[in-house]
């Protein structure tokens, strides 16, 4: 397999999409809908505009815990009844949390949407936060947090975020073992009351139903969700102060997960599409410079890619732009310096005319895959609503690409991809990694971090 990346679904738009994120049919919710007449399932996402940055300082993980707790029973349905009620309908509900949002995602067989929305109304209006259930869930989440750190890539990412933000709420949106352990059912109930309110929710649905019928059903089934205030926390700026490296110590590794990050560009920034074209040349694709040099030419690594969303997902605020690679341990003395050198070169020189032309053609043609399913189109509309990322049609996107000019793009890359200040994060043996990282031009410090779950 020649896998290089797990890149997030990128930018885009659609051919048939409405121009406005909020439907023309009145709804009492912030609602985006997509229609797919062939769909056998309804996909529902309830986006709470509060994530780990809304956790109190001493309770990291509260947003995550609260969302998970909703599925542990309501005042009318204890856990076993609730899970049976959901799953017998051919539905599944999952939870994800990042720094600014909590997303409750569900899929359900078309024929059962009405009954499923009845159950969801119960979940979102009368959660039980039962003490015994919460105690059990607390232990489960703590076990998951511990198990997550068995993945060395997660460790490397956690190391970088910890260094750049010095905040558990940024580095570990799911929380910490200590934070989760301090959360009480009262904390959960209070967070729920404050954040699970109409103004702080965005409901997104793709289904085969006509838009008007779908909106009518959502309005009628979820009308008892109360009003409140919008949260939408702001992501703080990352701290950069020259080039600095961190190592997460691990023995016995045969590969070295390695991240590099500089300041990023927000999802809705007008410069973002152009910079994404630059990144397509640098590290997004299998034909990009990173993989071609580090893997195809030198055989140092299996994977190498760069992305604007590898650390914090898609966000309204600027986060980090970074790259990832995972060279064999015997290649780190060559691979790590070369990786940073490539980053410097990209930052200083931008891309060539031939690369520019090929990337423009590639992205223009690939755009069809930004909108080929209702789920992707829904994702774009969510980004438009939350992050201000404009929706393009195929034509508009191609026009945008056509309007780009190489010299100004390279100026943009130089200005918006600074490498004088960087964070570098590697996992492995500090005795091996310290001299390698310290030898990279400009690196002022190498710190060994102790990452705890």
């Amino acid at each position: 397999m020649k896998l290089i990346a797990w890149t997030a679904v990128g930018i885009a738009t659609m051919m048939t999409m409405n121009a406005n994120a909020i439907p023309t049919i009145p709804s009492s919710f912030n609602l985006v809908v997509e229609t797919d007449p062939q769909a056998m399932l309804v996909d529902l996402r309830i986006i709470v505009r509060s994530g780990s940055l809304s956790d109190p300082e001493n309770l990291p993980g509260l947003a995550h815990f609260t969302a998970r707790a909703l599925l542990r029973g309501t005042k009318t349905r204890p856990f076993s009844d609730l899970s049976q009620a959901i799953e017998r309908l051919g539905a599944r509900v999952s939870i994800s949390v990042d720094q600014t949002t909590t997303v409750i995602s569900a899929s359900v067989l078309n024929k059962n949407l009405g009954h499923f929305l009845d159950v969801m109304r119960d979940v979102f209006t009368q959660p039980a936060f039962d003490v015994r259930e919460m105690d059990q869930l607390q232990k489960t989440i703590q076990g998951e947090l511990r198990a997550n750190l068995q993945d060395s890539r997660v460790l490397a990412k956690r190391g970088l975020l910890t260094a750049a933000y010095r905040s558990a709420r940024m580095a570990s949106p799911e929380g910490t073992i200590g934070g989760i352990g301090r959360i009480t059912p009262l904390d959960l109930a209070a967070f729920f009351k404050l954040r699970y309110v109409r103004e702080n929710l965005l409901i997104a649905v793709s289904s085969p139903l006509p838009e008007a019928e779908l909106i009518k059903r959502i309005n009628s089934k979820l009308d008892s969700i109360p009003s409140g205030v919008l949260d939408a926390p702001v992501i703080p700026a990352a701290q950069f102060n020259g080039r600095r490296a961190v190592i997460v110590s691990k023995q016995g590794m045969s590969t070295v997960p390695f991240y590099v990050a500089t300041i990023g560009v927000s999802d809705g920034d007008p410069a973002r599409p152009a910079l994404e074209l630059g990144n397509f040349v640098f590290g997004e694709d299998y034909t990009s410079r990173l993989i071609q040099t580090l893997r195809v030419l030198n055989g140092w690594t299996y994977s190498a890619y760069s992305d604007y969303e590898m650390f914090c997902g898609s966000q309204r605020d600027a986060t980090l732009f970074g790259l990832y690679t995972v060279p064999g341990e015997e290649f780190v003395s060559k691979a790590l310096p070369r990786t940073v050198e490539m980053f410097d070169s990209y930052s200083m020189l931008g891309i060539t005319g031939a690369e520019f032309q090929d990337a423009r053609e590639s992205l223009g043609n690939r755009f069809a895959f930004k909108t080929d399913t209702a789920e992707k189109r829904l994702g774009l509309r969510i980004r438009e609503t939350l992050n201000g990322r404009p929706l393009d049609s195929v034509t508009a996107y191609r026009d945008r690409l056509a309007a780009l000019e190489l010299t100004s793009l390279n100026r943009l890359i130089q200005g918006r991809t600074p490498t004088s200040s960087l964070w570098l994060s590697a996992v492995g043996n500090p005795d091996v990694l310290k001299p390698v990282l310290a030898g990279i031009p400009g690196v002022e410090s190498v710190e060994v971090l102790d990452i705890q779950p």
Partner: protein, 457 residues
């Protein structure tokens, strides 16, 4: 640059009208029509028309994986099928190294990759609909004209070793490999698809050439096209680009039959990246074509799919495990029903196995409701339909069934059969397959934790 290869569809349709047979049409459960063709050289083609967006997915499945190489006396090792899969991206006599990816990228390719497994190798890409002929040209070219040289083999060997080592550093991957190694004593499923580092280092240019010449032939391949295409145009293009490739004898060496397991096997390993303990349990199950396959799918959902699953109650809610996993490897030959768990601190594998045995006993004697059964059936359908929601995942879903059963129809019939699985069927699955003598238990522990267990007879 390969753009100049493209000619008009009308010409091809006329030129190649007699080069293929139309085998049949069927309407899939999602309403999409599927048409099956076969070229005179044996290449099978399945086309599913889905005009929802102006794109299509194109997949080529070869009926060769790591089992065949192990059985082939001229290879007799593992890893070449996978290694060779990497080489397929490295250029042909007509298309220089690197250009395959570059041409497809300029054409707008999305999700281009390949995978190798025990019984098959697949290559896939999705493209805007205008690129159908281009991908036919490139894929047929690399089926027959790959340019294999020592330099390419050596540079790709390093990437394969890098991939192997990522797996080595991953405790989940390690546990999975150890489960298969212990569960099978005769059948080549016991060996990993990627091979060992020594095996990867041992392959020569001559090995790669032999493998290519022996196994990459139209009569050992299936092409699946799903998307905004016209079936008759697809097959006409296929006849044009693949029609001249000769069929050839493919070695058919039956795998040794795995003897029935008569006692529980237990394996323990230690891994530097493990923080807590991990358990994987594999039960032998029949081949994918077996009539019990739908019931096994529902039994898997009963046990391990969703919050309402039995093992969520007996493993997670009791605090023994923080997470459970399950995998039903229904393969060409008898495979494995796999259950897994990450243990919580203070709990051990014996406790987990005791809880499992209690759940399996309940399943065997029918201590579950019709509602539980309905939940499980609907969870199976939900998961299947999620895979049917995109061109690429639909093609992969059907391709996997073609590889394991010889036909995509089995996948379609399976979904109908799932709806009729009864309580008695589930009890029979538990009694016949999910018993302790038929299972292998792998326990992974962090380095430094005291050893327990061993092989239990």
């Amino acid at each position: 640059m390969l753009r100049t290869f493209v000619i008009t569809l009308g010409m091809i349709t006329v030129l190649q009208a007699k080069a293929f047979d139309k085998i049949g049409d069927v309407t899939l459960p999602n309403g999409l029509p599927m048409t099956q063709y076969r070229l005179s050289n044996g290449l099978q083609i399945y086309v599913i028309k889905n005009a929802a967006a102006p794109v299509f997915s194109f997949q080529t499945w070869f009926n060769v994986g790591s089992v065949s190489e192990r059985l082939d006396p001229k290879i007799g090792r593992n890893g070449l099928a996978h290694f060779f899969e990497h080489l397929m991206f490295r250029g042909t006599t007509r298309v220089p190294d690197g250009e395959f990816d570059e041409v497809l990228t300029r054409a707008g390719v999305n999700d281009e990759n390949a995978t190798t497994w025990l019984d098959r190798t697949n290559y896939y890409q999705s493209l805007p609909k205008e690129a159908l002929e281009l991908v036919m040209d490139l894929e047929s070219d690399r089926m027959t004209s790959l340019n294999l040289d020592s330099q390419t083999v050596e540079s790709e060997r390093a990437a394969v070793i890098g991939e192997y080592r990522i797996g080595l550093d991953d405790p989940d991957s390690t546990a999975y490999d150890k489960l298969y190694a212990a569960a099978f004593v005769s059948h080549p499923y016991q060996y990993t698809t990627i091979g060992t580092e020594d095996e990867i280092r041992s392959f020569t240019l001559a090995d790669a050439r032999y493998f290519y010449k022996t196994y990459y032939a139209p009569n050992n391949a299936v092409v699946l096209v799903v998307g905004d295409v016209v079936p008759d145009e697809v097959v006409a293009l296929a006849a044009k680009y693949y029609g001249a490739i000769a069929s050839q004898p493919i070695p058919v060496i039956p795998a040794p039959v795995e003897p029935a397991q008569t006692f529980e096997r237990q394996i323990e390993f230690r891994h530097g990246q493990l923080i807590g303990s991990k358990v994987l349990i594999g039960f032998h199950i029949p081949e994918a074509r077996h009539a019990d396959s739908p019931s096994l799918l529902v039994a898997q959902a009963m046990l391990a799919l969703g919050d309402g699953a039995m093992l969520n109650a007996s493993w997670v809610r009791t605090g023994i495990a923080s997470a459970i996993s399950s995998d039903l490897n229904q393969l060409k030959d008898p495979g494995l029903f796999i259950l897994g768990a990450d243990l919580q601190y203070g709990h051990d594998s014996m406790e987990l196995m005791g809880a499992l045995d209690r759940s399996l006993s309940q399943l065997a004697v029918g201590v579950f409701t019709d509602g539980d059964l309905e939940r499980a059936r609907n969870q199976v359908l939900l998961r299947a339909y999620q895979q049917w929601s995109e061109n690429g995942s639909l093609a992969s879903y059907l391709g996997e069934f073609i590889a394991s059963t010889g036909s995509p129809h089995f996948a379609i019939d399976l979904l109908k059969a799932v709806e009729t699985v009864s309580k008695a069927d589930i009890q029979r699955m538990a009694a016949n397959y999910l018993n302790s003598t038929n299972r292998t238990v792998v326990v992974g522990k962090p380095i430094g934790q005291r050893s327990t267990g061993g092989e239990r007879r």
